[in-house]
């Protein structure tokens, strides 16, 4: 096939130029994928806990605008919620902060974490991908999320020491790591999960040693029966349990303060970045094609068909893009592996596909637009002769 012959010859004989083009496309791909992955990582940091909660509904105290720290619920409400038709199980979730200051007695660099109190084996308690789940409501045990385990390199069975402030005192508590859960950041802070009663003892509070007779937590995670309709059950909970509001996990994190502002900024940045990059790549191939006016004119003058000329150009553009995109995507993957765990990088399959497809389509379209312009020019004019 003559088109393939000409396209290959040009690329082989102009290796340096084409390698430069491959690298430019690869760098552009790396840039757009990396910023997109960082944006998604940032977004996930705000929503991870809710996305992985595994429950259909969340119950908050009324009039707190679904703000997690502001909500306060007690055990009495849990019982009331459990009795609502359609509810399969309810679990309390308490949220506080702490710092991990040592691992197995060895002082660590210190990591601020969200310390979540959950009832073992109840909604809200995390599934683990290694080790055991929480089992005993009073045990000095913890399940740590992937971010914590990666950043401090904590082995299963290790004992971590957490620091909290209770009253005027700085208190240290030891917790044995029994399992690892997937990432569950709360407001960008990685999490550790502690049995609720233990959490109640060690959370930051005015008086050391526990919050009193009624166990106070922040929200209730509700799991529904298989056939229950979430909206109906939510309405019933609101109607039968006093001073609560019900929402689903997605709405819960979307109403988090600043979440929408952050997401619109990230989306706009990703959108603009993709648009600019597509335009740059498109213009690049358009200019590259327009530079071949004389050569195309000559080929047409000696009898080459327009189709052959176009296929030759398209082969070069597609090879350049495929190699460039492949190298860029591979470099992105390598870079993500090399990045420290503290850098939030999340690959979104759909965004990667959209990015790669947009770049893959922009090159040939621009090339075709330029080729159409050139092929309209009479061959002798294209050759710079005075026809």
């Amino acid at each position: 096939m003559l088109s393939l012959y000409l396209a290959t010859k040009e690329m082989v004989r102009n290796k340096r130029r084409f390698i430069s083009v491959f690298l430019i496309v690869a760098l552009i791909t790396l840039l757009v994928l990396f910023t997109s992955a960082l944006g998604d990582g940032l977004a996930q940091g705000a929503s991870e806990l809710f996305e992985r909660m595994g429950t259909e509904l969340l119950v908050y105290q009324q009039d707190v605008d679904f703000q997690l720290p502001a909500s306060r619920l007690g055990r009495a409400r849990l019982s009331q919620i459990r009795r609502v038709p359609g509810v399969a199980a309810v679990g309390p979730v308490g949220v506080s902060t702490a710092s991990i200051i040592a691992v197995d007695g060895v002082e660590s660099s210190g990591l601020d974490v969200s310390m979540l109190g959950v009832e073992p084996r109840q909604p809200g308690s995390p599934a683990t991908f290694a080790g055991d789940e929480l089992n005993d409501s009073r045990a000095a045990e913890t399940v740590i999320d992937r971010h914590v385990s990666e950043r401090l390199d904590i082995p299963l069975g290790a004992t971590i020491t957490v620091k909290v402030v209770q009253g005027m005192e700085e208190k240290h508590y030891d917790l044995r790591v029994v399992g690892y859960a997937e990432g569950r950041k709360v407001n960008f802070i990685p999490s550790i999960f502690v049995p609720l009663r233990r959490w109640d003892q060690i959370k930051p509070q005015a008086t050391p040693g526990g919050g009193g007779d009624d166990l106070i937590f922040n929200i209730a995670a509700v799991q529904l029966n298989r056939n229950a309709v979430p909206l109906d059950v939510a309405a019933q909970i609101t109607a039968t349990v006093s001073q609560v509001e019900v929402t689903d996990p997605i709405t819960a994190y979307q109403t988090t303060q600043g979440y929408n502002d952050m997401m619109s900024t990230i989306s706009m940045q990703q959108g603009f970045m993709l648009m600019i990059v597509v335009l740059i790549v498109g213009s690049f191939f358009q200019i590259q094609t327009l530079q071949k006016v004389a050569q195309i004119g000559m080929l047409e003058a000696i009898g080459a068909s327009s189709g052959m000329v176009i296929i030759t150009l398209l082969i070069q553009v597609m090879v350049t893009l495929l190699v460039g995109l492949g190298v860029g995507a591979a470099a992105m993957w390598g870079m993500a592996q090399a990045m420290p765990a503290s850098v939030p990088i999340v690959f979104s399959g759909s965004k990667i596909t959209i990015t790669l497809l947009s770049l893959l389509v922009s090159g040939p379209i621009s090339c075709l637009v330029a080729a159409r312009t050139i092929l309209k020019i009479e061959p002798l004019r294209a050759l710079g002769l005075s026809a």
Binding site: N14, A294, Q295, M298, G303, A304, E378, L383, L385
Partner: protein
């Protein structure tokens, strides 16, 4: 049979509302083994006429016939295919594909025709050797002089054994010695192989290699020289005038 015929051909352009007759009612006939020079000052319509003969432009009036086939009746694709098989073309610049070697550039015509085989390859090498390019087969155009590039273009114009060979200012960028070498070789091959050849040139000295000289002015044919003595006189007068100018 290699014949090229233009019958009362006109090409008219419009510029700022004014009608410009680039070629005006021009007729010519070039027979087998005949090499014709089309000469005239810049803007006389030489290149437009050559483009019409090649089917790169369509005349507004009249018709072009190659081996008895009218180009007017052919569509764009058929015309391109016809050009590919029946016409050899050299241009004054941008002749060669920059990333193909000398041999590959010449073989390109055979690839286009789908006739590249052992014989075609041998013919390519033989033609290039005859044009003193036997030691340059693997060189890229950028490694050749202007004259060498023109000779490669001539080889490409002849390798697929076309009926018609058209050359547009083949000596435009060459010194006198190289110009004579290129045109004499072109004329020799056209005569030997029985092609019908037309060369456009503003350099009257090159007319000495032509069998017939057609002089154009303002799109019209103003003079036809067929007599060898007259042709040589035209070429020598020009040469003498230029020499005198150079001495002065």
């Amino acid at each position: 049979m290699s014949t090229l015929e233009a019958r009362a051909v006109s090409k008219i352009y419009e510029m700022n509302g004014a009608e410009i007759r680039a070629v005006d009612n021009l007729s010519l006939h070039v027979g087998e083994g005949e090499f014709v020079a089309l000469v005239g000052p810049s803007g006389s319509g030489k290149t437009t006429m050559l483009a019409l003969l090649a089917g790169l432009l369509q005349p507004d009036v009249g018709e072009i016939l190659i081996n008895g086939n009218s180009l007017r009746t052919m569509g764009k694709a058929k015309l391109a295919a016809f050009r590919m098989t029946s016409i050899g073309f050299t241009f004054q610049a941008n002749n060669l594909v920059p990333y193909l070697t000398v041999q590959e550039n010449v073989e390109l015509m055979l690839r286009l025709n789908g006739t590249l085989d052992k014989k075609g390859r041998a013919r390519t090498i033989d033609l290039l050797r005859r044009l003193d390019l036997g030691d340059r087969l693997k060189n890229l155009p950028s490694q050749l002089s202007g004259g060498q590039q023109q000779r490669v273009a001539i080889a490409r114009a002849l390798v697929h054994e076309p009926s018609i060979v058209l050359a547009d200012e083949p000596t435009a960028s060459l010194d006198t010695g190289r110009a004579h070498q290129v045109v004499s070789t072109l004329a020799k091959l056209i005569h030997e192989q029985g092609r019908a050849g037309v060369m456009v040139s503003h350099d009257l000295r090159m007319c000495t290699y032509a069998d017939r000289v057609l002089q154009m002015e303002d799109g019209r044919l103003t003079r036809v020289l067929t007599d060898r003595v007259e042709i040589d006189a035209l070429a020598h007068v020009t040469h003498a005038e230029e020499h005198a100018e150079a001495v002065a």
